[in-house]
């Protein structure tokens, strides 16, 4: 919210014997104010010094007026403008005479609307500037002739200075949602005055001298003269005041009101509307003026809207309204005596009763509407006004009279009639405050007198508090304060958060990562050491990816996505990784090694409300010929780094598609794993539990997901990390080392293609028993001689015994056992050279 320094200080009164607030603050005085506002939580977003307007426009006295031969509409005028000799000007207006004082825009002046004044010659006469109307200076709407100034206006003096238009300081404040009182100049002043050493004055401001003497009497009676308020539903408005005024209407100080409104970001419209807006900014009470002639029955009422009811608001839009249905609150309307809507309460007035130049009598409505209704209406209709913003946060239900008085002052008007409905004053909230609780929350105790000094200048009333507890009466403009903790925050705020002190906490726990958290860090560090970069993906992805990746079943959709690209919860990390691949390929980085640890989601299980959410590891790499191979090696090493993880890969037989489905079905949340290259993929089994997929993306998937930018093969590993929890976390126990030299035994076998290398190694290991320290594959080949369905696998067996070297006879026996077991279990044939 924007406020003006000059406006704010009108509400500051010096304490007895102290200095009044400075009207032209020095930078350090301004800093004091900014600090005070910040430390109270009314955060200063910016401070702007706006220079006085109308530079180059001076007061001039008309010295001579001459007709110009042949010209009907212009005359030649000489004016005194403080220079030695009179200045020559050509002027089209006729409403002035010699001796009048008028505004004179000198050459070089820039008038509102970026209108630059230059020397011109018209009909042979030189014009060294322009004599101005009030409209040309944007001081009023009067453009009928020159603005005639009072006779005491100093000739040659700056017009702005004479009119009291000084440089203004505009302070932009960010007001928190819980501080409706601070959405007004007076509210900010009330809160900040004590910090700056001033007393808040409530009856200040311009026009305060204007008479409104009968107002108080009228308001004190429940109704005076004619009725202005008809049927009112007190559930739809907690309090409403209406006042009737008779024109003509003129602001007491139009120059100041217009300039202030303009600097606060509002347009000047008419004296009545300007006064209404001024009161809203100053007091925080929105008001709405109606053209009384347009109100049937010359009165207003308030009720809930009916479903489908229509109202044309003053912006010309036709609005379809909604009623209240139980907790689902709807719109509230202001109606005339016929119950026809004439305004959308708290949001915007109706088009039919809008104030125009012809308006002669006005009904002003000042009300307090329920916050939730206004919030709902303004949100539903996408219609946020200055008024609705204030009602949403809460308007002081007791402010109407104060605001009405102010409205009267600004227009020097006395209402012809005033009427009201609803309780007055609205009962106050009282909160019990335990002094011990203050210390318990803030860490510091406060004496009751201290509390009074902090709270009472801001409108709170602190009771006697003879014991340890005191009653605090909350002012009606602070609807946010309802419990003890709220009052304690007020105490802290006015004492100053920074003066409450600091203390270092002492946790009773020893801080450490959980084993799972350590695993996650290990995985990241390992992959980084292998050249992988970590990517970050959002939970929301494009649903089109689901089809490309071959995911079955429906996705969980966002009901209000920002775009189709991010509209469903991701079921696999693959789409994020492929998007990153495409992004980088488009930037000529097509060799890519990426990983992510992130959440994936699938449909809620059973009666669960929330989706099934699991953390997965996704690893992607590009490779010219075989994308899966580097990832298999990586997975094997990762298992070593994490320890106690036995990793197997189960690969479907190349002839049986049914097995693919069966293996995928064995994984957690089927339908959430991308389809991979049929011949180069399998699923990962960790310590006997299926928990992931590994292999190479289908060439078509990569093509579709990367706009054909990637020619390499793309490997993909995706693991459900809950598998980390299924292992034995007891520390590894060291094994005794042999003192005897080990022996290596190389054996090659002819096998069916469907027999995996892992099966062979396992079988060999089993045949060798404890003597085999390791069994590793070192050669694979196929040949015509072997035929299309057979291949040769060669393994190296390291044999070592703790008791002796391995003897020739042991060796021969082992070879025999291996040969037999591979033949019987795998149908393999040992190749003898």
């Amino acid at each position: 919210m924007k406020i003006l320094y000059s406006w704010l200080v009108e509400f500051f009164e010096p304490r007895p014997g102290a200095e009044a607030p400075s009207l032209q603050p020095s930078p350090s005085e301004l800093n004091l104010l900014v600090d005070a506002l910040n430390s109270l939580g009314m955060v200063v977003e910016s401070v702007e010094r706006v220079p006085a307007p109308l530079a180059g426009v001076v007061v001039a006295e008309v010295a001579q007026i001459d007709e110009i031969e042949g010209a009907d509409h212009i005359r030649h005028v000489l004016v005194h403008s403080g220079q030695e000799s009179p200045v020559s000007v050509v002027c089209g207006a006729t409403n002035f005479a010699v001796g009048d004082r008028v505004p004179f825009a000198q050459v070089g002046a820039v008038l509102p609307g970026e209108f630059r004044i230059e020397r011109r010659t018209m009909m042979g006469k030189v014009s060294n500037g322009m004599l101005c109307s009030a409209r040309e200076l944007e001081l009023s709407d009067d453009g009928s002739g020159l603005m005639i100034l009072p006779a005491d206006a100093p000739v040659g003096g700056a017009l702005a200075k004479f009119l009291g238009l000084e440089e203004e300081i505009v302070i932009d404040l960010a007001i928190e949602a819980n501080r409706p009182d601070a959405n007004s100049v007076a509210g900010v002043a009330r809160d900040v005055a004590p910090t700056l050493g001033f007393v808040f004055r409530s009856d200040s401001g311009i026009g305060a001298q204007a008479p409104a003497k009968v107002l108080r009497d009228q308001l004190d009676r429940s109704s005076h003269g004619e009725r202005l308020i008809g049927e009112v539903d007190l559930a739809a408005v907690s309090r409403i005041v209406a006042a009737k005024f008779q024109g003509p209407f003129a602001l007491v100080d139009p120059t100041t009101v217009r300039r202030r409104l303009q600097l606060c970001g509002m347009r000047s419209i008419s004296p009545v509307v300007d006064a209404s807006n001024y009161v809203m900014i100053e007091m925080g009470q929105p008001t709405h003026p109606y053209d009384l002639r347009a109100l049937s029955g010359s009165s207003i009422g308030v009720r809930n809207a009916r479903d489908g009811e229509r109202l044309k608001t003053l912006d010309g839009e036709e609005r379809v309204l909604q009623g209240t249905h139980g907790e689902d609150v709807g719109d509230i309307v202001i109606v005339d005596a016929d119950s026809t809507p004439v305004g959308l309460a708290g949001v915007m007035g109706g088009d039919s009763s809008v104030i125009t130049a012809e308006t002669t009598s006005v009904l002003l409505e000042l009300a307090c509407f329920p916050r939730s209704n206004i919030a709902r209406t303004s949100k539903r209709l996408g219609l946020r006004s200055e008024a609705s913003a204030r009602f949403e946060r809460g308007v002081d239900p007791n402010a109407a009279e104060w605001a009405l008085r102010r409205f009267c002052e600004l227009l020097a008007q006395e209402p012809l009639a005033v009427d009201s409905a609803g309780p007055r004053p609205v009962p106050s909230v009282t909160v019990s405050l335990r002094l011990a609780q203050i210390e318990r929350l803030l860490g510091r105790g406060f004496e009751i007198d201290h509390l009074r000094r902090l709270l009472e200048p801001c409108g709170f009333l602190v009771g006697d508090g003879s014991d340890d507890i005191t009653e605090v009466v909350v002012p009606s403009f602070r609807p946010d304060c309802t419990i003890e903790a709220d009052i304690i925050e007020e105490i802290a705020r006015h004492e100053g958060y920074r003066s409450l002190g600091e203390r270092r906490i002492q946790s009773p726990y020893v801080g450490k990562l959980t084993p799972y958290q350590r695993d996650l860090r290990k995985i990241g560090d390992f992959l980084v050491s292998r050249g992988y970069f970590e990517l970050m993906g959002s939970a929301l992805v494009n649903d089109e990816d689901s089809a490309v990746l071959g995911l079955s079943g429906p996705s969980i959709r966002a009901s209000n996505p920002l775009s189709a690209e991010e509209s469903v919860l991701r079921r696999t990390l693959a789409s994020t990784a492929l998007a990153a691949l495409r992004f980088n390929a488009a930037r000529r980085r097509s060799e890519v090694a990426l990983f992510e640890i992130g959440e994936v989601f699938s449909m809620p299980v059973g009666t669960a409300m929330l989706p099934d959410e699991t953390t997965r590891l996704g690893v992607m790499t590009t490779s010219p010929e075989n994308g899966a191979a580097p990832l298999v090696g990586l997975l094997a090493d990762l298992a070593l780094v994490l320890g106690s993880l036995e990793v197997e890969i189960v690969q479907p037989s190349r002839d049986s598609e049914a097995i693919v489905a069966a293996t995928l079905a064995g994984l957690p949340s089927p339908g959430s794993w991308p389809d991979l290259h049929f011949g180069r993929s399998g699923y990962v089994v960790v310590n006997g539990v299926p928990c992931g997929a590994i292999g190479e993306f289908k060439v078509e998937t990569v093509r579709d997901m990367t706009d054909g930018l990637i020619r390499d093969r793309v490997g993909w590993l995706e693991l459900d990390l809950s598998c980390l929890g299924i292992r034995d976390r007891r520390p590894h126990q060291a094994q005794e080392l042999s003192h005897f030299t080990s022996t290596d035994l190389d054996l090659a076998f002819e096998l069916e293609v469907g027999v995996s290398a892992l099966q062979l190694c396992r079988t060999v290991q089993r045949a060798c028993g404890d003597l085999a320290r390791s069994v590793e594959l070192f050669d694979v080949f196929t040949s015509e001689r072997l035929g299309p369905n057979r291949r040769s696998l060669a393994v190296r067996i390291r044999l070592e015994s703790i008791e002796s070297t391995v003897s020739e006879s042991q060796l021969a026996e082992i070879i025999q056992r291996v040969e037999d077991l591979v033949r019987t279990d795998l149908g393999g044939v040992l190749r003898r050279s």
Partner: protein
């Protein structure tokens, strides 16, 4: 050859022969290696000159023999020493020559085209780990929770009223699950506070890092998903002073002694009193610059004393327990620490960006 045909019978003759041997050694060639080997053979071999001369020692008187023997011994030592020094010298010369031949430009492989052998954690993860480590050092545990939450955990239990603007569909992504508006991508890590309190293990000293979602169109300072880290301390006798001390202690530990923190009033539904915490601008160190809009301070996050309604919503007695919570954006911290001009760079996973954070 000076001494070979001499057969001295007296001490004087012996010493003269030795002297002559000495000068012939001084003239003997010590390089190249073959010559060195020849000289070694000539003087030190079994039938060499020194051995020959030592045979004549027997013909001298006992006293003379002692004198002559020790002179001969000294000479032998000198010859041995000289030859071995020379051998080492020649070897090192040869080795140097071989190494010169095997010259390799070590900078070739410093600049050779290759696939990066070292990757990097995302800068967000790096920042998160650094923060986690700090709090672990202060005796905090690290806790996490689901990214998709029910409306109860994300709003209701946190005292966010039904019509609070924070619940607006403008700001949150809701999911098509259950009743409309009942399941949401969490907008903050705070629902994990509720889950921790529900677990009922008190006291709590925890930090909660994680991904959160806001319905913001991406711009230089906002992305629809980002990360927060949130702290929750619940114990007996926890006060606002503890909150201020923790925020200030963390700030100094993370940013350094020259950066301090301060609190100013703010509003959050789940804390009362609530505060925003600001830190000294890390760019200008408080003197005022463009980054901090000239004020010398930068807003970092929100904090406050846990609202009694939050305690009540999970059945924790606010008369016995008190606590504070604080939270801030991890990306924002990374942005300040690493000078990221535009947050959107974090969404692209651009390798040119990722590879800048290897160290």
């Amino acid at each position: 050859m000076a001494g070979s045909d001499v057969n001295p019978g007296s001490l004087r003759e012996f010493l003269a022969a030795l002297e002559s041997l000495r000068s012939s050694f001084d003239e003997a060639p010590l390089a190249p290696e073959e010559a060195l080997r020849a000289t070694e053979g000539r003087f030190l071999a079994k039938g060499g000159e020194i051995a020959l001369l030592s045979r004549s020692l027997g013909r001298l008187s006992q006293d003379d023999r002692r004198e002559a023997g020790s002179a001969l011994q000294a000479f032998r030592a000198r010859v041995t020493e000289t030859l071995s020094t020379q051998r080492r010298y020649l070897e090192s010369l040869a080795s140097l020559e071989r190494e010169r031949q095997e010259r390799y430009d070590l900078t070739e492989d410093l600049v050779r085209e290759r696939r990066a052998a070292v990757g990097a954690l995302n800068v967000v993860t790096q920042t998160r780990y650094a923060l986690e480590d700090l709090f672990v050092g202060m005796g905090f545990s690290i806790e996490t929770g689901p990214e998709v939450e029910s409306e109860w955990y994300n709003f209701e239990a946190l005292n966010v009223a039904k019509y609070h603007p924070a619940r607006d569909a403008q700001d949150s992504f809701f999911l098509e699950l259950g009743e409309p508006g009942s399941v949401v991508l969490r907008t903050q890590t705070s629902p994990v506070q509720i889950r921790l309190l529900e677990r009922g293990v008190l006291p709590i000293y925890a930090v909660i890092p994680g991904k959160v979602f806001r319905r913001d169109t991406p711009d230089a300072r906002h992305t629809p998903s980002f990360h927060q880290i949130e702290g929750l301390v619940v114990d007996e006798h926890i006060t606002f002073q503890d909150l201020a001390g923790t925020v200030s202690g963390f700030t100094k530990a993370y940013f350094g002694q020259e950066i301090s923190a301060r609190l100013r009033p703010a509003y959050f539904p789940f804390t009362e009193p609530s505060a925003e915490f600001e830190i000294t601008c890390t760019i200008c160190l408080g003197s005022g610059c463009r980054t901090c809009s000239g004020v010398g301070w930068i807003e970092l996050g929100g904090c406050g004393m846990v609202h009694p309604n939050v305690f009540r919503s999970v059945g924790v007695d606010p008369e016995r327990w008190s606590g504070f919570a604080f939270g801030f954006g991890i990306e924002r911290l990374a942005q300040m620490k690493h000078g990221l001009a535009d947050m959107r760079v974090l969404l692209d996973n651009d390798l040119r960006f990722l590879s800048q954070f290897r160290g």
